[in-house]
């Protein structure tokens, strides 16, 4: 399968934070949820992909090309929504259209105005008059209107109410159906991702903890709930992390089926991405 995005051994050091050997790949036509708590390194990774930070080590390939050498060519085909970064708010959607027409070869004015109409965004109003949800929608519309082959979205739903979030997720879903596009979607709101992501890449404290298909994660992984005595009988290599709660032990296992055949513990729950994140970050080994 052709890879749209390949990251190999990406490292970047700050005084108080470090990206350590980040490696993952995003196959063509897939949606990857990029999850992790605030400050885990999601935005730093995205900034490196887009060359917003420069002094990093490692290799980043987009559409099979080097992200720095072929920067111009690559960025023609990338749509971006970045957390808190956008056009100056004294501009209007009309200004954005005029600007983008002169920047992207494939800018689709009709598509942009159709989207504006669909989401009731007035073309001649300054961005600063828009609510947070409207602004986010405008950012997303702007990212979609040049028919990108790769969408990079950094926290597109953060700070929005559930209704606005659902609307925004719907925009992505409709877009993927129409265009053959891959998406890297970073979020700490994992419920959004369970429905749409094909892959989940989990970053914690500057390191990739896992990168797997959503199906594998949600079907294979499980949470065993057991007593202390039962827990002590479990082999260390059969679980990933565990957490002791008031009444029981919650144990994250990578393969529910195998676990069931090996141990006589009946309560194995399905996991959600939220459970996975909490156990991976807060759990012990």
């Amino acid at each position: 399968m052709e890879n749209i995005l390949e990251i190999k051994n990406l490292c970047k050091k700050y005084d108080n934070f470090e990206l350590k050997n980040i490696s993952f790949t995003l196959p063509k036509g897939m949606i990857m949820g990029f999850i992790g708590e605030n400050g885990a390194g999601k935005t730093t990774t995205i900034k490196a992909i887009l060359d917003i930070i420069k002094s990093y080590r490692g290799e980043i390939k987009i559409f099979g090309l080097d992200n720095r050498k072929d920067e111009r060519k690559i960025k023609e085909d990338i749509g971006i929504v970045l957390d808190d970064m956008f056009f100056p708010e004294i501009l209007t959607p009309n200004d954005i259209n005029n600007t983008m027409k002169g920047i992207y070869k494939n800018w689709d004015t009709k598509m942009f105005y159709d989207y504006l109409k669909e989401f009731s965004l007035l073309p001649n109003k300054q961005i600063k008059t828009f609510s947070k949800g409207m602004r986010k929608k405008l950012e997303i519309i702007t990212a979609l209107s040049h028919h990108p082959k790769l969408l990079i979205l950094d926290e597109p739903t953060s700070g929005l109410d559930p209704v606005a979030r659902a609307e925004i997720i719907k925009i992505f879903q409709n877009f993927i159906e129409k265009d053959d596009c891959s998406i890297l979607l970073s979020s700490h709101i994992t419920t959004d991702l369970e429905h749409i992501a094909d892959y989940i890449t989990f970053i914690n404290n500057g390191e990739i903890v896992l990168s797997k298909t959503t199906n594998e994660l949600l079907v294979k992984y499980g949470i065993v709930k057991c007593t202390e005595k039962e827990f002590k009988g479990i082999d260390k290599k059969d679980y990933i992390k565990y957490k002791k709660t008031k009444y029981e032990y919650e144990v994250l296992v990578p393969n529910k089926k195998e676990f069931r055949t090996k141990y006589n513990i009946s309560i194995i729950d399905k996991i959600t991405l939220d459970d996975l994140m909490v156990l991976m970050i807060k759990g012990e080994k």
């Binding site: 111009r72 960025k75 992207y104």
Partner: protein
Amino acid sequence: MIGFIKKDLAMIKSNLKLIGILIVLYIIMGLMGKMDISFILPFMCVMIMISSFSYDNYNKWDAYSISLPNGRKNSVKSKYITTILLTLIVSIITIIISFIISYVNIQNINYEQILVTMLGTIFATLLVLTFMYPIIYKFGVEKARIAILLIVFGLVIIGGFFSQYIDISFITKSLSFLEDYLIIILILITILMVYTSYKISEKIFSKKEF
């Protein structure tokens, strides 16, 4: 490239009302013969351009622009092109108004005088802006304000010190032969200044991280 310029011009658009009011004020004051406020429009250029950096900074446009095709180069280039365009447009407006005022008031237009004054104004406006841009790109618009204040303050003190203890009249005397070529020299210096400033800003921005 053209898109970036359009974005910077669109930001000026929101100042059009203020520019209009100032032009009217300028004409009225001039016709009444009360005061020459021809400096006000070039001064506006400086204010408008600096505030455009503030708006960019507030919504983190610089970081966003890098993620657009050829964004690192074009966002700096477009700031300089927009600055030159704005300065020229404002200067032409000022020249036209100066002609009208001097025609109405004294019915005798001193073309050369107006032209030289205008050239001086373009020079001064671009001098201030091109001096500030690399500092803004390096330190950001907020810190740049303080940096510029300190630099100007330092220059005034050094200048004051030298003029008190050292006789600089020999410099003016030895340069007096250049007077005939003043216009050409001014134009050449302006071009060189803008170009150097642009190259420095481009270099700073090419390494900048957000």
